[in-house]
Amino acid sequence: MGALSHYLEEGGIATTGISLIREHTEAIKPPRALWVSFDLGRPFAVPHDAAFQRRVLLALLRLLEAPSGPVLVDYPEQAPHTDADEMEGVACPVSFGGAAEPGDLGAALAREIEEIAPWYDLARQRRGRTTVGASGVSVEDAARIVGSYLNGKASETINGLSAGENLKLAYEDIRAYYFEAAGARPGSARAQEILRWFWFKTAAGRAFAQLQKVCLASRDESAKLFASRSLVPNVIQRELPK
């Protein structure tokens, strides 16, 4: 991000940027940066808290008034805790019977997607939007693509993309579907709890853990690239069985 700042300024455009990793910003020295203590993925911190987002945005824009630079300012506010932060021991608000059909993870994934549908639909209705849809196919078709690959068939493709690209997009949509559904239940859990639920408590988690093994063992470089770089978060990988 800091490199883009330098390049855009070279091109004549003033910039001011959020810094998520302070040490990187200290090294790259962009003209203007506001370090925030929020989670990676949340540069403006708090969903549906317009006042908080506005304060961060104003602090960021005010850096454009600095007479000289580089400027690196620490934003003083922490992201507020939600009620869910205080609920010790809440593993995840969603629980489904995805343990059946252990021999066919693709089928278990498809059935779990059906079970979750009411919560996903509720989330979509409440938010008035969904982030499922990067692949351009339905989540059911995305699950079929994953199931086919797990069963040794890789014939289903989206727009002629490579196996790795297909699987990446299918994964992106399935994961968004689960996370949105999980967020719709009462007493919604923290992002980390939903992440752990997805990987350790659902058929989807088991299917994708298995998919990683299948892809890494395949001869298809695109599938290997997907499995090694864009499938399992580091924080989860350390806990998965080898």
């Binding site: 991000m1 003033a14 910039t15 040490e23 987002q53 104003l58 351009g136």
Partner: protein
């Protein structure tokens, strides 16, 4: 989050390893007009695009960007970033967590900033940073054509 001391040692080391590549830039400094006259665009590295746009490819060297018109409904925004090591649930709940277009528009209506650009831009944010320069220079030219004075950068 996020000082490196807060991360798992392996993740902190991965972040530290990136630092040598982050040095050696010049000190360009563009002075924008006063905020109340400035036209502002958002550039994010969150891997955002419109539903139906070409998703970001698997190459970590990819430097291509997607255009997000300012009037794009939130329901049309999706994410296909290659990294899985950041939270997406905030964006799923509210696009402004990553792409604060509603807040920026409010500031324009209140006269705190001059105006909001017609077009905003998204990168996938995993490319080697020195390879970004040609696309960034192209973007600067496009931003000038949209009469943009300043950009706010939103990473994930």
């Amino acid at each position: 989050m996020v000082r490196l001391a807060d991360l798992h040692p392996a993740d902190a080391k991965a972040q530290l390893d990136k630092i040598p590549a982050l040095t050696g830039f010049g000190r360009p400094w563009v002075k924008p007009p006063v905020l109340s006259k400035a036209r502002i665009a958002i550039v994010t590295t969150a891997g955002l695009h419109r539903r139906g746009d070409r998703p970001y490819g698997p190459s970590a060297k990819s430097t291509d960007y997607r255009v997000i018109p300012g009037n794009t409904p939130a329901s049309e925004l999706v994410m296909s970033h290659q990294s899985v090591n950041f939270d997406r649930s905030g964006f799923q709940e509210d696009h402004n967590v990553v792409f604060p277009i509603d807040r920026l528009s409010e500031l324009a209506r209140e006269g705190i900033i001059g105006s909001v650009a017609e077009y905003h831009y998204a990168f996938m944010g995993a490319a080697p940073i020195k390879e970004l320069k040609p696309k960034a220079m192209e973007l600067a030219w496009l931003l000038k054509k949209d009469k943009v004075d300043a950009v706010l950068l939103s990473p994930v």
